[in-house]
Symmetry: C2
Subunit: 298 residues, 2 copies
Amino acid sequence: MELTVVGSVALDTVETPLGKNVEGLGGAATFFSLAAANYVPVHMVACVGQDFPDEHVSLLKSKQINLEGLEVMEGNTFRWAGRYHQDMNNRDTLDTQLNVFEQFHPKLPAAAQQAPFLFLANIHPALQLEVLEQSKATFKGLDTMNLWIESELDQLKKVLAQVDALIINDSEVELLTGERNLMKGARAIEKMGPRTVVIKKGEHGCLLVQGEQIFIVPAFLLEEVVDPTGAGDSFAGGFMGYLAQLGDTSFDSLKKAIVHGTVVASFTCEKFGPDQVAAITEQDIARRFELFKQMTAF
Amino acid sequence: MELTVVGSVALDTVETPLGKNVEGLGGAATFFSLAAANYVPVHMVACVGQDFPDEHVSLLKSKQINLEGLEVMEGNTFRWAGRYHQDMNNRDTLDTQLNVFEQFHPKLPAAAQQAPFLFLANIHPALQLEVLEQSKATFKGLDTMNLWIESELDQLKKVLAQVDALIINDSEVELLTGERNLMKGARAIEKMGPRTVVIKKGEHGCLLVQGEQIFIVPAFLLEEVVDPTGAGDSFAGGFMGYLAQLGDTSFDSLKKAIVHGTVVASFTCEKFGPDQVAAITEQDIARRFELFKQMTAF
């Protein structure tokens, strides 16, 4: 089944203890689409400026991502710059230039509206509401961030009431629910709307909760993390992509989708930017899925 | 097969966000023995002072722990006081009184010497070396702490060269090896002696490495952690106890032992002190083992 994602496309300048990548391709919709494109046809709805390099468009097209909904607007592309701490678990934002993103209102082409699976990547909740009005999707996933939880909670709650699954960081769970314990936090989120709650713990793996059903999984173990930027978005892309491929969202499928998200995210961390997640094949994913199974089964 | 542990018995004063426990039964050998006693006969080698309450002796005896090696020395029992932070992942030591522990030299009774499984809980490496000279064990496990890594590295390395498995915290791995990445840290530890490396990540689970074989497991998910004191020692007790019960240390058995350690440690966190780990039965462990399997299998 087809899958639509709405979110940011950016030019990222990233410093990690292993190097620096200046104005590389970034953005939540980018990482999500490249990850999900390993599973199903993806419609990307986003905006870029007139300065957006052709090579990035080519990369997205090389993975058969449908760019009908990628609006080229007057002005410059959204830019983000950040520096990771020595431990790679924390980062400081050094610069944010919204540019064309400031005027963006997502317009879903007909095919993107019809896609049965929709992912609302991290953008302003008001825009996410505009997308929900246009989409005919039957399974809707959502990401958000601390900024919207703190400044746009009312609108975010309207979005939450309309989605099937929330994918959220552990620190954001506490911010959103006031609960430090992740199980209690998941329960509180379920009451806000989403039947399925996925809590990401970065290098410590993640947690899937749906009523009484619980699934916990560690992260894939890498000997070297080069750049974790986009790992969360790639995780979401692998998760939603796998579900859309199956056309099924039973708890058993959700569990496998979590592992696919975990595996795809691990590739993203191996190089700067989306190069690695763009380069992998179905076979690479299948091989690492089996390896991960061996590393966790008892 | 029988199992010997050498370590501390203490009176612990613990504050957590959920309450305070004054001079409760504590110490690494205590938590380890109570956990391991669910699997095999345990010989506890430790020391207490003349002030050590009879009720604690009764509790240990109620789990058939062999106390022939528990020396009652002139003076007071070792005391430790600590306070956990709001997030339960960190704690401050408020007070340490070594008391009788200052003069302690472990003497293993004949039966404790013959036990095929030995665990060196966290005590001074010089004492651990004394134990190794007395023991006839064929599988030896080791715990240590930041203090000995920083101040007694030469003696600790002599211990490491003689043991089969090291159980260590993630933060101690970096201190011991200089490696921030856990896989690289495990490789460095293998070169120091132990064929098997178990890295504990607290609420984030743990990692088992033996050459090319890797096993990663999350922690059991609790809705409420009352007191994590002794969780690591209970983990080691469940791990070593299960291995001793099987009399087998193949990688497949090590993986299951890690899960037993995980399960037993989760009980410890549910109440102050060792009450919960002392109260559980084989059936409680088996039930939670199955639940954990359900929560992690895909």
